[in-house]
């Protein structure tokens, strides 16, 4: 018993010293960058305590107010994207355009890539959609026609490969006028995207982990 006690004491003292050490952790000008030991500890503790996704820290600001403020500050094209699974809504500004593809970014440099009104990719979200190939859907929705199309969605998996998921989709008008619905199934998964291209509004599925995003054009 005495031995165990002695050990506990050593460990407790060790812990204090370790904290002190972490406080001075990793300063320097070395180029090989990355998080500090303290960041890593905080993140790992966070992962263990709260599961993977940390809860939104503050009550989400009112999307209307956020949109109005963004429109006032930024004179370029803007979109607002809500991630349903994370319960977040953010305004993204256009940062680049290549062919028909537009890259929008948040202030913290997470990105959503659109091809027209179609969501084609995300960046910086941890379980990103690398690329969605859905030109068939885009053509049908754009023309307001019913039909079937195949959609391929590629995800970077931790084994280093882009894993494609291929879905068979049924496109047709929705219950409300102007709304087009895309019903997709494949790999035991199914999702339903809805588009209102004229109004620049849509709800599109990003992937199995992130779920649905709502995309709204604030300024084209």
């Amino acid at each position: 018993m005495g031995e165990i006690l002695a050990m506990t004491v050593t460990f407790t003292r060790g812990l204090v010293a370790a904290l002190a050490l972490a406080a001075l952790a990793a300063c320097g000008n070395t180029r090989s960058d990355g998080p500090t030991t303290l960041d890593i500890g905080r993140q790992l503790v966070g992962q263990v305590l709260s599961g993977r996704q940390s809860a939104p820290a503050a009550p989400a600001p009112d999307p209307q107010a956020m949109a109005a403020e963004a429109l006032a500050v930024n004179k370029g094209p803007l979109i607002m994207v809500g991630l349903e699974s994370l319960g977040t809504t953010q305004v993204l500004a256009l940062t680049g355009e290549n062919g028909g593809m537009r890259t929008y970014m948040t202030e913290s440099e997470q990105a959503v890539i659109l091809r027209g009104f179609m969501l084609t990719g995300t960046r910086g979200l941890g379980n990103d959609l690398s690329v969605a190939e859905a030109s068939g859907t885009a053509a049908l929705v754009g023309a307001g026609r019913s039909g079937t199309a195949q959609r391929t969605m590629r995800y970077f998996s931790a084994d280093g490969l882009e894993r494609p998921l291929v879905f068979d989709c049924q496109i047709g008008p929705g219950p409300r006028p102007g709304v087009m619905i895309e019903d997709c199934t494949g790999h035991g998964l199914s999702f339903q995207n809805s588009y209102l291209p004229g109004a620049g509004v849509s709800r599109q599925w990003i992937g199995p982990v992130l779920g649905y995003a709502t995309v709204q054009t604030l300024r084209p």
Binding site: G34, E109, R123, G124, A158, L165, H187
Partner: protein, 746 residues
């Protein structure tokens, strides 16, 4: 030079093959309910006391998902077992275990012993037929053989909740209830130096049946019952049936051969369990499992890359398209400065650059991304934003330790056209080549050299598996700095200050520190069976409370030919040795084969003083061959002379993953006899390296891990010099570059 439209190489074919949507979902990091993975053999739900899928003490024919790394700690009234299991390939599991069991015959009252297991699934279960999965296994196949057993086992899924298992066991699994022997008597265990394969015992002696059933009561709870032939003869004082006298202990005998247990799956990564052995002894266990192929943030949490900026039409920028700008002497410095600043924000150092009217080559040092392809992709994106439109060929050359190691050549039009498409397309359009040694017009980025870097970090060092003190540790602060004078020429040093720990200075054997220090090299050699203590006195170097200099070196890296790299390292090379180390490596960028030679002249360092030496000097050296077998397997053979002057060879096999994970094993056999070598007979161990970015999502090249050597002996020991060439150049060579290529547009 414009890149040729290329034939798909072996690597790019692999990337493009991913476009075929076959058997792909099994590995996709989906939150979809963990349906029994499609392409994998029968997967176990419960870990047994040996840390492998099974029942309680007995094995099953189940496997773990490919590449799973699992750790199990099992504590009972009879023993403690800590094991590490790796699913090497889908059909083969290997395990390394550290056990502690009571012994009334030992001074300490217990024995600590390591063991190694292997299980191979011969046949997978026929999903709709009667055929069960069948596996064969060796338990404690190397060394003293306390847990030594072999088995042939069949497992069948009767319904999604119920699996039954039956098998035949030899050795420990037949310590009671034997049916007789099939192939002769089982010889006694290895009483000598240990560390040998016990092949002469395998499948010999009594054979006994075992059987069991596991029932998934709920999605999380599995119950198991088994009949086992293992009656724990040694542990329970049955000296007549215990293979070795020194193993006998005096615990209460088991009442019967029935073991009962449960496992509760707390989360995807962990399970806890409990069991009752023979109606008498209770125990609990915990297992953790993780898989390098699955990460919480597979695509990373790094900031989005800058979008590619397509060029304006020629009519809109006639001057830029004409290339006339290249005659302006202020153009390149301004472009280089802008690009260097943008790259710095991406964690890349722009070391130097060649810029002509139609071609730009940038030489970058990647300080941030585990996958070099991601650094290359982000650099290519930035080049499209910084370079005038007439520049048509983009070359991104990777630089490691000042030497260019490979070049990715791309047509700018391809980068523009293929942005954010399937990564295999740009892989096919780009060409990976050996870098040109010193291209005309190469301009160093001003202010990058000479470069002084320093960092102050905590350090932790641990020593495991000492029978008296299973976990030794030391914690302190380390000040590291490097000064790069010219490309490839740098001075590096580390200063360490211990703060606390339980690793104290200790002499080998029963000697005191003073006694050991007073001995001459000849006396140490004579006392150690004719072999000088080149490593086994390692603990003489620990427990020092004054500042330490683990290394202080002058390093010179060069590339005499486009496919040959050289290194010269002079100074305090490692904590125990100082001297000169020279190395040359032949490794064409797209070749799976590498050949190297290394020669070192070193002197042993003093136990305490940084700049003092012990009178032991030796020349060591190796010729090495490295080969990438594909699918992440890399083999290495080093043959030559080791630190104790012994000659021999080391064979290593590593499985590495695109995420940066590495799991490997090595064996070294030299011309020392088993007696000279001592316990363990030859050197062996495993290495594990895990990238931090895999666990936390934030991009960083830092990894954690280390080598789990078997015993710190003196035979087959190599110099631990930092910065060996093969690992230095490989990140940007074919296999690794293309393994990480999925991150090009990320």
């Amino acid at each position: 030079m414009t890149p040729r439209r290329t034939r798909p190489t072996l690597h790019t074919r692999r990337l493009l093959a991913t476009a075929i949507p076959a058997a792909l979902l099994a590995l996709a990091p989906m939150n979809v309910a963990p349906t029994a993975a499609l392409a994998e053999p029968m997967i176990g739900t419960m870990m047994n006391r040996y840390g492998l899928p099974g029942l309680i003490d007995t094995p099953t024919a189940e496997m773990l998902p490919d590449a799973t790394l699992a750790a199990t700690v099992s504590v009972s009234q009879l023993d403690e077992r800590t094991g590490l299991t790796f699913q090497l390939i889908p059909r083969m599991s290997v395990a390394l275990r550290y056990g502690k069991f009571d012994s009334t015959e030992q001074r300490r009252g217990y024995i600590r012993d390591r063991s190694f297991d292997l299980r191979f699934q011969i046949l997978d279960e026929a999903e709709n037929g009667w055929r069960p999965a069948i596996a064969v296994g060796l338990q404690d196949a190397v060394g003293t053989g306390f847990y030594s057993a072999e088995y042939l086992v069949a497992t069948k899924t009767l319904n999604p909740r119920l699996r039954v298992t039956a098998g035949l066991g030899w050795g420990r699994l037949a310590s009671s209830g034997g049916l007789g022997s099939i192939i002769g008597d089982r010889p006694g265990p290895d009483e000598g130096t240990g560390g040998q394969l016990n092949a002469n015992q395998w499948f010999k002696g009594e054979v006994a049946p075992f059987a069991g059933v596991q029932w998934k009561a709920t999605d999380r709870l599995t119950l198991a019952a088994e009949y086992s032939g293992d009656d724990y003869a040694c542990e329970t004082g049955d000296a007549d049936n215990c293979a070795r006298r020194p193993w006998v202990s005096d615990d209460d005998p088991l009442k019967n051969n029935i073991n009962l247990g449960f496992a509760w799956q707390g989360g995807p990564a962990w399970q806890v369990g409990g069991y009752l052995l023979g109606g008498k002894h209770a125990g609990i266990q915990v297992s953790l499992a993780l898989n390098p192929k699955q990460s919480p943030y597979p695509s990373g949490l790094e900031k989005a890359p800058a979008p590619v900026r397509p060029r304006a039409a020629p009519a809109a920028d006639p001057e830029g398209w004409s290339g006339a700008w290249s005659a302006d002497p202020t153009a390149q410095p301004a472009i280089q400065r802008a690009l260097a600043d943008a790259l710095a924000k991406e964690g890349q150092t722009l070391e130097s650059m060649v810029l002509t009217a139609d071609r730009a080559e940038v030489r970058i040092r990647n300080n941030r991304y585990m996958q070099q392809a991601q650094a290359v992709g982000r650099t290519a994106r930035l080049m499209t934003r910084a370079l005038p439109p007439s520049v048509d060929t983009l070359v991104v050359t990777s630089v490691e330790d000042g030497i260019p190691t490979s070049s990715v050549v791309m047509r700018r039009a391809d980068v523009e056209r293929l942005e954010n498409t399937e990564a295999g397309q740009i892989a096919n359009a780009a060409v990976l080549t050996d870098a040109v040694a010193r291209p005309a017009g190469l301009v160093g980025t001003p202010g990058t050299l000479p470069r002084f870097q320093w960092s102050l970090r905590p350090y932790y060092s641990t020593g495991l598996f000492d029978p008296d003190e299973p976990f030794r540790y030391e914690v302190g602060a380390a000040l590291s700095s490097s000064y790069e004078l010219l490309p490839g020429l740098l001075v590096k040093g580390t200063l360490r200050q211990r703060l606390f720990g339980n690793a104290e200075q200790d002499a080998p054997g029963t000697m005191t520190v003073e006694e050991y220090e007073a001995m001459s090299v000849e006396e140490v050699t004579a006392q150690n069976g004719g072999v000088y203590r080149v490593r086994s006195d390692g603990r003489m170097y620990s427990g020092n409370d004054s500042p330490q200099v683990p290394e202080l070196t002058l390093n010179w890296y060069a590339r005499p030919t486009p496919t040959t790299y050289t290194r010269v390292t002079v100074g305090l090379l490692e904590r125990m040795y100082a001297g000169v180390s020279g190395e040359a490596l032949w490794k064409p960028v797209n070749s799976p084969l590498g050949l190297g030679v290394e020669i070192n002249r070193v002197r042993k360092r003093d136990f305490r003083d940084a700049f003092e030496f012990i009178d032991y000097e030796v020349t060591t050296g190796h010729v090495s061959a490295y080969y990438e077998f594909g699918n992440g397997f890399v083999g290495q053979v080093d043959a030559g002379r080791y630190l104790a002057g012994d000659n021999g060879a080391t064979l290593s096999l590593t499985r590495e993953f695109p995420s940066g994970w590495q799991v490997g094993a090595f064996v070294t056999k030299t011309n020392l006899s088993e007696e000279e070598f001592g316990e363990g007979s030859f050197d062996k161990g495993i290495t594990i390296r895990a990238p931090l970015a895999w666990a936390i999502g934030t991009p960083t090249k830092r990894t954690v891990g280390g080598t789990l050597g078997s015993l710190n002996r003196d035979g087959g020991q190599r110099l631990r010099v930092d910065g060996r060439l093969y690992d230095t150049v490989r990140d940007s060579h074919g296999t690794r570059m293309y393994d990480g290529w999925g991150k090009f547009w990320r």
